[in-house]
Subunit: 412 residues, 2 copies
């Protein structure tokens, strides 16, 4: 018997459902400096507003250092919550600070939603493919998944009704520039989604980290906005069907771990209790500094810089794929966000491709990882936000060569 501690025999049942993820292993690869990684989901460090952040740190520590370094309230720094409420008003969603809780990244909101709502064995309706972080968060609570297929316009909502009839706890959807597929749910499907959810009494979790990162086409109303409109005036506090998540990770910086959740007030109160038990509150300092950076409207200007940077990188990636990828491969055209979805010929296994690609010092995430009920073996997720354009060109060229070689060898 190998050496053990008594802890080893004491794990709770849910521990068996935790797994170290493919993405985590890939993030480790990205730490090797010689790998070109399209595997992570990192923002470009070139667009971090370091100077503005530094100014804000100095102002906050000069003017309210004692408050910024002290314990704070669990729901979050009130001026920040009020600012988020005003931001939503611009998109015609009437929410009050009572609808809003600050979280340590959207991952934490996903965890709390699992904690509040998922009994072991409960079904959650997800897009196929869907966001891996949500699956990781909810697997620990024993969730099962009903996958609804999606195409370039997002979830195929005509297939949703069947899924709603199995009695799921909620629907999870990323309507804008989805992670991993890059797809955007069409306006028609958004409306149908809101109606069907209302018809079956099944609520919706809308995860929207990239909504403002649109590089072409028109902004579409969020699902929470459509739900709110359907219900009519609400007296300033949202009491509808949707829990909405968004984040400062893509607009400001992920390293400060700052996001928010919008929910009906009764749910927000429960979220606050969950957060109190989980980590008391999100760092006061980070919240006040983010408020200081954002309060004068800086993010409205800054997001234009991010959009220009990522649009260029997306375009370079697609152009290079056009040049170097084998004609058997296809890919979607994302209108925003950070990810491009590649589709290899049927029967080709992206996990096998990854093994060869890593030898050529280029990485991505095989698409099967995003399918909770299997499938997607011939798909791949490519991040275009992190690497600089010339690096993208080099990495995609290596990947194109890898694919062509493998297809040639298979053909033999």
């Amino acid at each position: 018997m190998h050496h053990t501690t008594p802890w080893e025999y004491r794990y709770a049942h849910r521990t068996s459902r935790m797994g170290s993820s493919v993405i985590r292993e890939l993030l480790k690869l990205t730490e090797q400096p010689d790998i070109i990684s399209f595997g992570g989901g990192l923002p470009a460090p070139e667009v971090f507003p370091v100077k503005q952040f530094q100014e804000a740190c100095n102002i906050v520590l000069n003017e309210q250092g004692a408050q910024a370094l002290q314990y704070g309230t669990t729901e979050g720094y009130r001026p920040l919550r009020e600012m988020i409420a005003r931001h939503n008003a611009r998109f015609s969603v009437e929410v009050s600070p009572d609808n809003i809780m600050i979280t340590s990244g959207s991952q934490q909101a996903l965890d709390f939603i699992g904690r509040l709502f998922i009994n072991r064995g409960d079904y959650i309706v997800v897009e196929s493919p869907t966001y891996l972080g949500a699956l990781q968060a909810w697997n620990a609570y024993g969730a099962q998944y009903v996958s609804v297929p999606s195409d370039e316009h997002g979830m195929i909502v005509d297939e949703l009704e069947k899924a709603l009839r199995v009695g799921p706890k909620f629907i999870y959807i990323l309507p804008n520039f989805q992670n991993p597929s890059g797809s955007t749910l069409s306006l028609e499907r958004r409306k149908k989604l809101v109606e069907l959810a209302d018809k079956y009494g099944v609520p919706i979790v809308e995860d929207d980290p990239y909504g403002q990162l649109r590089y072409e086409g028109e902004h579409l109303p969020s699902v929470v906005q459509l739900d709110s409109q359907m219900r009519g005036p609400n007296g300033g506090t949202y009491t509808g069907n949707v829990i909405y998540l968004s984040t400062f990770s893509k607009l400001l910086a992920p390293g400060i771990r700052l996001a928010w959740v919008i929910a009906p007030p009764e749910v927000t109160r429960k979220l606050v209790m969950a957060k109190q038990a989980a980590d008391l509150h999100t760092a006061t300092f980070n919240q006040i500094v983010a408020y200081e950076v954002a309060k004068g409207g800086f993010l409205d200007e800054h997001v234009k810089v991010i959009r220009a940077t990522y649009k260029e990188r997306r375009d370079v990636m697609m152009e290079t794929m056009e040049e170097v990828f084998p004609s058997e491969a296809h890919w979607a055209h994302p209108e925003g966000g950070m990810f491009l979805w590649g589709i290899l010929p049927q029967g080709m296994d992206a996990a096998e491709v990854l093994k060869v690609a890593i030898e050529k010092k280029v990485a991505f995430v095989p698409g099967f990882a995003f399918h909770p009920n299997g499938g997607g073996e011939n798909t791949m997720r490519l991040n275009f936000s992190y690497c600089q354009p010339d690096v993208i060109r080099e990495g995609i060229t290596r990947l194109g060569l890898t694919l062509k070689e493998m297809l040639r060898n298979n053909g033999k």
Copy 2:
């Protein structure tokens, strides 16, 4: 039927075990500027090293802004983990960075311990009274508690053996200047605790937020140190019986939410998986800034300032109690930490006292809140770290008057 959202009927079973805590309600009272509150557990803002923190923010953003604002690894910033390992070496505990994970406050470590180890109905051995935050964290996982009584020298370890025979998952103990009782576990009892835990194969969670805040007497070895010594040389990586928690909240500032957990490597790996699903990682920026503040040995000097400040406040509180409290009341003499434990005459209800005290604009936490299996109705927790000395004198005077009045009225 009142207006509801579909969420209201969808809460998971564990949600019923979440409650908004007494402490939380009391923290709300402390937000009223005219209340003198001994209820919270706040550090003195006067000792926050605002200047050092500001300098560190500037250095970090100038020199490694891109890294500090980017996503980081789940286990935490390696130089910070290495620094914590070196710090432990000074106290003769051989730990490697593989033993250490950074958490968003110790509350998060408590939550993860619950997530990893507690099946619904499992028993945890706790001191009576014990830390409320741990109960809140573990109630959500369906824990039950075996209370072992304690006195001014901490848990009465002679009573522990009986508790270990019920088959508990682990023992939870705060050996230094316990929250809430202020008691310190004697060296003899620490040794006995380590031996008994080893004899029964029941592991220990040692929660040590205040260990360095000692105002008199000799530093005692931590439980993890004694366990480590008992096992002998370990090759630089701890593989013993104890999970050890500590925090920067009391030494640096709580508003940055930065703490650490030391565990056998196999447990640390599972903690990392839990954290990955829960919030990906603790804010990179906060970790690098804390490292920058601490790396040159600043905290060794700074802790002397904190000790001097809190010792004065403790002494003022005890002196004033001596003057104004009725002779029927007693209190313990804490050698460190942030809390003083008051004992009222048997039959007097501290919750009733609180109601009257709040009218007189002074607050504390009734001791029953810290007893998971009942008891302690005549006890109260008084925080002495937050209020300045003259405020402590005024608040304790009001409280003394309240107690005398109530005793007089009861006597009628």
